[in-house]
C-alpha cells in the first residue's frame, strides 16, 4: 500500500444464495489493517445491517473465513497489504456453502459431513479407567499430531474443486479429522471410520489437486491425510475386512 492511498475500494457480497448483490464502500486505510478490520469498519461506520461472523480475532476459532479477492482466507489474520496491495478488495462468503446472509456462510453441510465421516471421538475407555500413557514419539501418534491444529474454518472446503463438483463429497476437513482419529490410539472407531470414508462421498473422490493444503491457514495438509485414508481403506478392502 502506498502512503498516498488513504482509502480502500471494497466490494462486498450482500444477500443470500437466492438473491445477491454487491455493495461498494470506501474504507479508511490503516497500517497493519486486516480484512476483518475492514469488514468490521463497514458494519460499525457505514452499514450496520452487514452480517458476518468472527469471534477470537487471533486465528483460533475458525469462524471468520471468507473469500478475499477470490481466495479463501482467515480474515482476522489476513493483512490488507498482503492480499490487496492496490487497495481493491472483493469480499464474499465462503465458496461451496449456502449463504445465510451477506458474508455469513451456512456451515451446516460442512459439519454434517464432519459427522458423516465419523470424524468424532469413539471412546475406548471410561472415566473410571486409569489415564492411558501416550508416547508422543510414536510414528502413528506423530501422524495424528499433524492434523490436530485444524480450527474447522472450512477454508479447505471452500478451496476444493472436488467439493464444488460433487455435493456428496465429504471434503478435506472432515476426512483429515477422520484420519487423525484413525491414528489416535485412544479412538475405538477404526472400522466405522473406514466404512464412513470409503463410501460414495468418501476419500477416493479426491483428485489430489492440493488446494486444501495450499490455502490451509495453519499449513496443515489434508491431501496427505486423504492419501493415508485411501491407503488404509484399500488395504482393508483387499484384506476383505470391509463388510460392504
Amino acid at each position: 500500500m502506498t502512503a498516498a492511498q488513504e482509502t480502500l475500494d471494497v466490494t462486498v457480497h450482500r444477500g443470500t444464495t437466492r438473491g445477491a448483490r454487491y455493495d461498494r464502500f470506501e474504507v479508511p486505510a490503516h497500517e497493519s489493517q486486516t480484512v476483518l478490520d475492514v469488514v468490521s469498519w463497514i458494519q460499525q461506520f457505514a452499514d450496520p445491517t452487514l452480517s458476518y461472523r468472527f469471534a477470537c480475532r487471533v486465528g483460533m476459532c475458525g469462524s471468520c473465513a471468507m473469500m478475499v479477492n477470490g481466495t479463501p482466507r482467515w480474515t482476522c489474520r489476513t493483512h490488507i497489504k498482503k492480499v490487496a496491495p492496490d487497495g481493491k478488495l472483493l469480499i464474499e462468503p465462503l465458496r461451496n456453502l449456502p449463504v445465510i446472509k451477506d458474508l455469513a456462510a451456512d456451515m451446516d453441510p460442512f459439519f454434517d459431513k464432519w459427522t458423516a465421516a465419523e470424524a468424532q471421538h469413539h471412546p475406548s475407555q471410561t472415566r473410571h479407567d486409569p489415564i492411558e500413557a501416550i508416547d508422543p514419539t510414536d510414528a502413528t501418534r506423530a501422524e495424528a499430531d499433524l492434523g490436530v491444529e485444524c480450527i474447522n474454518c472450512a477454508i479447505c472446503y471452500a478451496a476444493c474443486d472436488t467439493v464444488a463438483g460433487n455435493p456428496d463429497y465429504l471434503g478435506p476437513a472432515a476426512l483429515q479429522r477422520a484420519w487423525t482419529l484413525l491414528n489416535d490410539s485412544r479412538d475405538d472407531g477404526r472400522q466405522s471410520i473406514l466404512d464412513a470414508v470409503s463410501g460414495t462421498g468418501g476419500c477416493h473422490n479426491c483428485h489430489s489437486m492440493g488446494s486444501c493444503a495450499q490455502y490451509c491457514p495453519n499449513e496443515l495438509n489434508p491431501m496427505r491425510a486423504i492419501a493415508g485414508l485411501k491407503r488404509e481403506t484399500a488395504k482393508s478392502f483387499f484384506k476383505g475386512k470391509r463388510n460392504a
Binding site: G70, D161, Q214
Partner: protein, 113 residues
C-alpha cells in the same frame, strides 16, 4: 462470484492429467482403428502413413506423445501418492513428470523429422 485462486502447481498437474487423459481417450480409438487397417486394408494404411509424413502431422504426433508420457508419469506420481508412504515432494515430482514427458516427446520429434 470471482473464480477462486487456483494457480498453484498441483492444481495445474490435475488439469494436465485430465486434459491428457481425455486427449488419449479421443485419440486411441482412432489409433487402433488405423493399426487394424494393416490387416484389413493395407492400401489405406499406406495412404495414411504418407499423410503422416507432413510436418504439421509430425508436430501433432509430438503433442500426442507428450500427452501420453505426461499422463503416464503424472499417473504414476498419483499412484505413488495414494499407495506409497507420503512424500512431501509432490510439486517436485509433478514438475519432474512434465520434464521427463517433454524429454521423451522431444526426442521422438527430433527422430521423426
Amino acid at each position: 462470484m470471482k473464480a477462486p485462486a487456483r494457480s498453484h502447481p498441483l492444481w495445474f498437474a490435475f488439469v494436465l492429467h485430465r486434459v491428457s487423459g481425455l486427449g488419449l481417450a479421443l485419440f486411441l480409438p482412432a489409433h487402433f482403428w488405423l493399426l487394424s487397417q494393416a490387416l484389413s486394408n493395407p492400401a489405406r494404411l499406406d495412404g495414411f502413413l504418407a499423410f503422416a509424413e507432413m510436418p504439421l502431422v509430425k508436430l501433432a504426433e509430438f503433442g500426442l506423445v507428450f500427452l501420453l508420457a505426461v499422463h503416464m508419469f503424472g499417473g504414476l506420481r498419483l499412484l505413488a501418492l495414494e499407495f506409497l508412504p507420503w512424500s512431501d515432494r509432490q510439486k517436485t515430482l509433478a514438475a519432474g513428470a512434465v520434464g521427463v514427458a517433454f524429454l521423451i516427446s522431444t526426442t521422438f520429434f527430433l527422430k521423426a523429422i
